[in-house]
Structures are given as C-alpha cells and as structure tokens.
Symmetry: C2
DNA sequence: GAGATTTTATGTACGTCCTTCATGATGAAG
DNA sequence: CTTCATCATGAAGGACGTACATAAAATCTC
C-alpha cells in the first residue's frame, strides 16, 4: 500500500498538506493559498470527526443530521419549531421535516401543535430521546478524547474560536445577502 | 424571526456557542466539554465552508465529493488508481467508482488501464477538467476570501495546523485499529 | 507450475441527506 | 374581506455513502 496520507511540517513548525499546497499554488500562485488550505483542512478534520463519531459511538441508527436535530432539541425542553430548527442548523426546512420524521418514527421526538401559531409544529424531545443521548454520551466522549489526543485546553479553545469566527462570518454574509435581496 | 444564531465571548475573549455548551455541560459536567465543543465547532465551520463554496462558486454541477476527486487528480498528471483515490480521500472504493463515473460522464476525467496492474484503473484528468478547475478557481478564491475575512495569515496557518493535527490523530487511530485487526 | 487466496474495480441494492417546486392551512397587512 | 407572506409538508429527484456479490487479475503456497 502506497502511503497516500502525507502531512509535512512547514518552516514555522506547523502542519500542512503538501499535495493540497501544490495543487492550489499551481492555480493561485501566491500567498492566497492560505485560505484555501485552511478550508481544505477544515473539511478534512470534519470528515475525521464524522467518521470517528460514526464508528466510535456504535451509532445506534442515528446519523449526523438527525443527531444534530436531537442535540438541539435536548437543550430546549419546550421544543422548537421546524423553522427554527432549520434556521439554527442552516438547512432547508423541508429537510428538517424529514429528520424529525425519522426521529419521531424512532420515538425520540414528538410533534405537538405550537401554542402561538397554528401553522407551526413544535418538535419536542421525549424521555426516550433523553435516554438515547445519555447512552450516546459516554462512547462519544471517549471518541472525541481520542481524536483530540495531545490537544491542550488552549488548543481546543483556539480551534473552537477560529471555527466559530468562520461560522460567524458566514452568518453575517448570508444575512447581508438576504437583506440585499 | 427569532435570532437562533447566537455566539458569545468567554472570559478569555474567545468565541463559544452557549447553546452547545449548556447542552454538553448538562451531560458531561466538567472541562471535558472542550473537546465536544471543538468538534461541534469544526462541524459548523465545515458546513459554512461547504455552503459558501456551493453558492459562491456558482457550482457548475460538481458537488463536494466529485470536486474532491477532481482536485486530487489535478495534482497528479499521471493519474491515480481508484484504490489510491479511495485511500487518500478516506472513503470506500465503491464510492470513488461512482464519483469517477460522474466525472467521466461530464468529460472531466478519463479512465485508462493501469500499466503495472491490469486489474487497476487509472483515472486521469482531461484538458476539460483542467479548464473546469481554472474557471472554478477565481470565484472560489473570492468566496474563501470572504468567509475568512479578518483572519490573519497566522490565524489561517493555525487553523490549518489544528485541523491537520486532528486528521493526523484520526489517521493514526485507524491505522492502529486496522493493524490490531 | 497448479490451485487457493487476496486484491481491484464494479454491479446490485439500499439508506440518508439535501434540494426545488407545488400546495393547503394559517397569519398578517391593506 | 382580499391579498400577500409564512409554515409545514407532499412529490420528485440528485448525490453521497454503505454492504454484499462477482469477475478478472495478481500473489502466495504447495
């Protein structure tokens, strides 16, 4: 097996992916590769986390989209409407409808009419859903601990900070674009 | 519209997501939330990048998986086998077969027999594929520049570094697991 | 060398995520 | 009251990704 997975260290002692860098430098030809490299690295990291979560937590039938919804619901005991879930997750509301469908089929979430707006539907987590999360917690914690081995608390906070700055930029951008529409 | 997108600043001046933190602290109850928070942030950031790329680059019919393959091929003019592509992308080879199918249907990639192993299939980028990337370059560069607004070069390098450390950990973990099998 | 095992790509079948467009019900504004 | 906007969902489809089975070729074992 050829070793396709290569990561090198640059002059500042930071990791980079040589293949990605040459691929990008070829087209951009300057220091602008930095943003593209960072984007590629984020994508790679996200994949790694996703795979880790899938295999490490034994993944009792729930996939990333539904898990995302379930976690959001677990923080709001009064439930959230489909639309709010869609906005906070950044996906279409039609999609959330489907995700809530599967969660409701599994008994982890329940639909209820919204009190203030009869068009809306409240999704609320059930005791079974809480229990599911309780069981999910431990293995996932272990998996995350493994994949973040050797990260100091400062590293973790820094990574979180940079990623959320990025998400914040994106949020402002779409807000601006929607406002201009 | 309720503002579902909330990001706060912690005592160190770093961003964090209050909803995620309370959701996690409730189950873990300690400083171990850091790893989970970081993982959630990476996922959010990856989503943001994905959406930015999809809408910003006008996305002429190519999606993230196929784009990933095409970029890898663009760095190796001699082509890569399906298996190597699968290993470097971290997905199943069957999946890569499908991605190469769509790329070949679009004329961006060509299959050829591998010289050293008649079972293998070389995927090689075509001139049309090179041109596609050439057209893709500029808008994507702009989109990445926008989403990484206010990031210093050091920030970008740091983000890349942390993400690749994470990917490296994951790589070692799976290697270890496969080796122990 | 001959046969058994492994590797490589792909066919088949399936599940999930996500999208756009259309629609019925409801709310809000004039 | 009429008109327009919003909410959730039905219908249809595309793309990604998996597991299992299979044919062809390479490699190992005797």
């Amino acid at each position: 097996m050829k070793d396709v997975h290569k990561i090198s260290t640059d002059s500042d002692g930071l990791l980079f992916d040589p293949q990605a860098r040459t691929a990008l430098a070829q087209f951009i030809g300057g220091d602008d590769t930095l943003a593209m490299e960072a984007a590629a690295a984020v994508r790679t990291a996200s994949h790694a986390i996703e795979r880790m979560r899938a295999q490490g937590s034994e993944n009792r039938g729930l996939s990333s989209g539904t898990l995302d919804v379930l976690l959001r619901l677990s923080t709001s005991p009064d439930g959230m409407t489909i639309g709010d879930l869609a906005k906070s997750a950044g996906v279409s509301s039609r999609n959330v409808t489907g995700l809530v469908d599967t969660l409701e089929r599994d008994g982890l979430v329940q639909r209820a009419p919204a009190p203030h707006d009869r068009r809306s539907v409240l999704a609320r987590i059930t005791p079974a859903g809480q229990e599911w999360i309780e069981n999910w917690r431990r293995p996932t914690q272990l998996a995350m601990g493994a994949i973040f081995r050797d990260f100091t608390p400062a590293d973790l906070a820094q990574l979180r900070h940079l990623c959320l700055r990025l998400a914040d930029n994106h949020h402002k951008l779409t807000e601006y674009l929607n406002g201009a529409r």
